[in-house]
């Protein structure tokens, strides 16, 4: 028995080493780094204990970043979910050209983020962008709005992100829709249920589990989204009005050159996400299990 246990551990060892090296070590090292005032590139470092955490507890920039991150993640998730579910329901119907349309809907998700952002920045540019050109040409406005200026930059960022990531919801939700037994709909129709009631009482309960996972994954991904935000606003300019937590962590590390501070922000981001996930599980886990 003891020998077989040893063999078991020996067989597990490569996986444990791999997980420990690739997942455990970086997380622990990051936490260790968060206890230091450490220059990003030079060897200078001083142990400060929880000093970095105390600093961020009262740092206005940190809380502002949490706020912007919340607005960005929250609104993009709601919009992706709404748009994605509606699109999936439509694509689940039978009509001519459905296959082609299913492929086209996937397109935004398959292109690189940098291409998507350049495309949208070009469309929204107030000097030569198509959107403002159409608005002015149709007489909708005389002075083109500055979509990439302070007042609209968050909206522009949200639109770009929703456009790029809603296909994930479409694909995932559509896959689940296709596995719902048609008999359930037939029975509901016989009972006199209209389209809305069929959706409410058949589709929604059947797809609860997949919605649970979609919200969880997209929530994590949008809250930690860096590339789209960075490419859209960059540094300086109006970037301070969309400076989410990942961007702030990056700036602390690579532009302020304070690696310890950056590591602290990463730990805090991890804590915030873990907390939010725990609450989410607490609120909706039963529904998921029932589903």
């Amino acid at each position: 028995m003891r020998k077989s246990a040893l063999v078991g551990w020996a067989l597990l060892a490569p996986s444990l080493l791999l997980l420990g090296g690739l997942v455990g070590y970086p997380i622990l090292y990051n936490f260790w780094l968060s206890l230091f005032a450490k220059h990003a590139f030079l060897p200078a470092q001083t142990f400060v204990g929880l000093g970095n955490y105390r600093y961020f507890a009262t740092d206005e920039e940190f809380w502002r970043s949490v706020g912007y991150g919340g607005i960005y993640a929250g609104s993009t998730i709601v919009l992706q979910l709404g748009l994605g579910v509606v699109a999936a329901l439509l694509l689940n119907e039978t009509f001519h050209g459905r296959g082609l349309l299913r492929g086209v809907v996937l397109f935004p998700y398959t292109i690189p983020t940098v291409v998507a952002v350049i495309l949208w920045k070009w469309l929204l540019n107030d000097s030569y962008g198509l959107v403002d050109y159409v608005l002015v040409a149709t007489g909708a406005t005389r002075i083109p709005p500055a979509w990439l200026g302070k007042d609209y930059i968050m909206w522009s960022l949200i639109v770009t992100s929703v456009w790029q990531f809603f296909p994930f919801v479409v694909v995932t939700y559509l896959a689940r829709l296709q596995t719902i037994p048609p008999e359930l709909y037939e029975a509901a129709t016989v009972d006199g249920a209209g389209a809305w009631r069929r959706f409410l009482h058949v589709t929604l309960p059947q797809t609860g589990a997949v919605l649970f996972v979609i919200v969880l994954l997209r929530g994590i991904w949008m809250f930690t989204k860096f590339d789209t935000v960075w490419l859209m606003a960059g540094e300086g300019g109006v970037s301070q009005y969309v400076r989410t937590l990942p961007v702030y962590a990056y700036e602390r590390t690579f532009t302020y050159l304070q690696a310890g501070m950056g590591a602290t922000l990463a730990v805090l981001m991890f804590g915030l996400l873990a907390g939010a996930t725990a609450v989410y599980f607490g609120l909706f886990r039963e529904e998921e299990i029932v589903s």
């Binding site: 600093y55 540094e235 300086g236 109006v238 301070q240 700036e251 050159l257």
Partner: protein, 466 residues
């Protein structure tokens, strides 16, 4: 002799080869090729690579360096190969710091003057007094000569100089009967006069952090009697009168700028000027000429329409000051081939190579040697002849001490070891944008920036005030 299907086997010219002969021959050939490939190493002439990084990314400049200085260096130092790596200005600092941290910096690199003090205090730079003497210490222009001079020794030499100006549509200003602005208030009035709602804005500037959060604020401080920090205590002076007055001026200027200016990049602003969407571009060097010659309407690609103007000064200042674009060559103490790096620089500054280098982007790359600035051969370049007023502006600016290195609010800022971190933090950019487009009260924005800057310098260990 017949094959299996009864046809005669074709005759072959090659003699029959046994397996042993084939294997022996192949092995000998492979060994020979390997030996040839490592020939120079075997003969004691191992190819060594001199890593040279610089910030002049224009293709014609890269080609000029390759065909001039590098070609001569490689001829004179057989066994050495020079690898030049042109880097965008904004990428240099991060890449350089990462290379230093990894213990493998380039042998020779451009360095922003505001970073030099930081690296010097850490003992990372190698002195180059001998080279400076060989180049002609007294011939190097005073505007650049002692930017990297610490404790009686030279640690860098500027590659070339380029003045920064406001580029204007001179014809539009003259139509209005207005003079070039001398003060902040003049510039606001001029921008207002040149703005035509819906068709043209008076002025634009790039919103990138490097400019709006570092280069311009240093100029504004210098032009309004201020400085980044107290010279003795290093306490930041972002809430000083010099800065608050500047923020008030910027707020007055903002209505005459495109609504999305803060999202624009440097080259966008030059395109906007060349195509008539704005009447003035706040950030302009002689590179602007290239964009004007490419994008401006036919018949307008000349200095009668596009002209440089000096920065105005603020109510508490005497003279408008702007940045002098000019990184310095530096050799690190960790450089692998320092002597060869210095030899490369001697070749780089040789008259025939250096003249071609400066001509690769005329006026933007103005020579550092006083003897060459007004040299007829240098001035004979067609673009300098055509755009002579831009060259003259450069000379006037140098004579009137209107230039400081990028990010300097006063000459002694070369001694501040934290300018790179201040630039990187974006604290100043946040302040300027909040006051200009965010509707924040200039005093409040300045106080907040002051507090953040004090926190930053304290965290970095540079707090000297009590």
């Amino acid at each position: 002799m017949k094959n299996q299907i009864g046809r005669p086997r074709p005759r072959t010219l090659a003699p029959r080869l046994s397996r042993r002969q084939f294997l022996t021959g192949t092995t000998a050939t492979a060994a020979g090729l390997a030996l040839l490939g490592r020939g120079p190493a075997v003969l004691g002439q191992q190819v060594r690579e001199l890593q040279v990084w610089h910030t002049e990314v224009e293709p014609q400049t890269v080609k000029t360096v390759q065909e001039g200085s590098i070609a001569e260096f490689e001829r004179r130092f057989p066994g050495f190969k020079v690898r030049q790596q042109p880097l965008a200005w904004g990428d240099l600092n991060t890449k350089l710091l990462a290379a230093i941290a990894a213990g493998s910096p380039p042998d020779l690199t451009h360095l922003n003057p505001f970073m030099t003090a930081s690296l010097y205090t850490k003992g990372l730079l190698r002195p180059m007094d001998e080279l400076i003497r060989a180049l002609g210490e007294k011939d190097i222009h005073e505007a650049t000569q002692k930017l990297q001079y610490f404790d009686g020794r030279y640690y860098g030499v500027t590659h070339a100089m380029g003045g920064i100006y406001i580029a204007e549509r001179r014809d539009l200003r003259e139509q209005k009967g207005l003079k070039p602005p001398q003060t902040y208030a003049d510039l606001v009035d001029l921008a207002a006069a040149l703005t035509e709602e819906g068709t043209r804005y008076g002025l634009t500037m790039p919103g990138e952090k490097l400019y709006i959060g570092f280069s311009f604020p240093a100029e504004w401080l210098a032009s309004n009697g201020g400085s980044w920090v107290d010279p003795t205590t290093w306490r930041p002076r972002l809430a000083s009168r010099a800065m608050v007055e500047t923020l008030q001026f910027l707020r007055r200027l903002n209505p005459f700028m495109p609504p999305s200016w803060s999202g624009q990049k440097y080259l966008d602003t030059l395109a906007a000027l060349a195509t008539g969407k704005v009447a003035m571009a706040y950030l302009s060097g002689a590179r602007t000429i290239g964009y004007v010659e490419r994008d401006a309407p036919e018949g307008m690609r000349d200095p009668e329409h596009f002209q440089p103007m000096f920065r105005p000064h603020g109510p508490s200042g005497q003279t408008g000051v702007s940045a002098l674009d000019g990184e310095n060559w530096t050799v690190f103490s960790q450089s692998k081939y320092p002597q060869e790096a210095f030899e490369f620089l001697r070749i780089f500054y040789k008259r025939e190579h250096y003249m071609k280098y400066c001509h690769s982007v005329p006026i933007h790359l103005t020579p550092i040697f006083k003897s060459m600035i007004n040299d007829p051969e240098y001035l004979a370049h067609p673009r300098i002849r055509k755009w002579r007023s831009w060259h003259d502006a450069m000379i006037t600016g140098l004579r009137e001490h209107r230039f400081l290195p990028i990010g300097f609010s006063r000459p002694d800022d070369k001694l501040l070891p934290f300018l790179a971190e201040l630039d990187g933090s974006g604290i100043v950019a946040d302040m300027v944008i909040a006051a200009m487009v965010g509707g924040a009260d200039p005093d409040a924005a300045a106080v907040r920036a002051q507090q953040r800057a004090e926190e930053l310098l304290t965290q970095l260990g540079f707090k000297r005030w009590s």
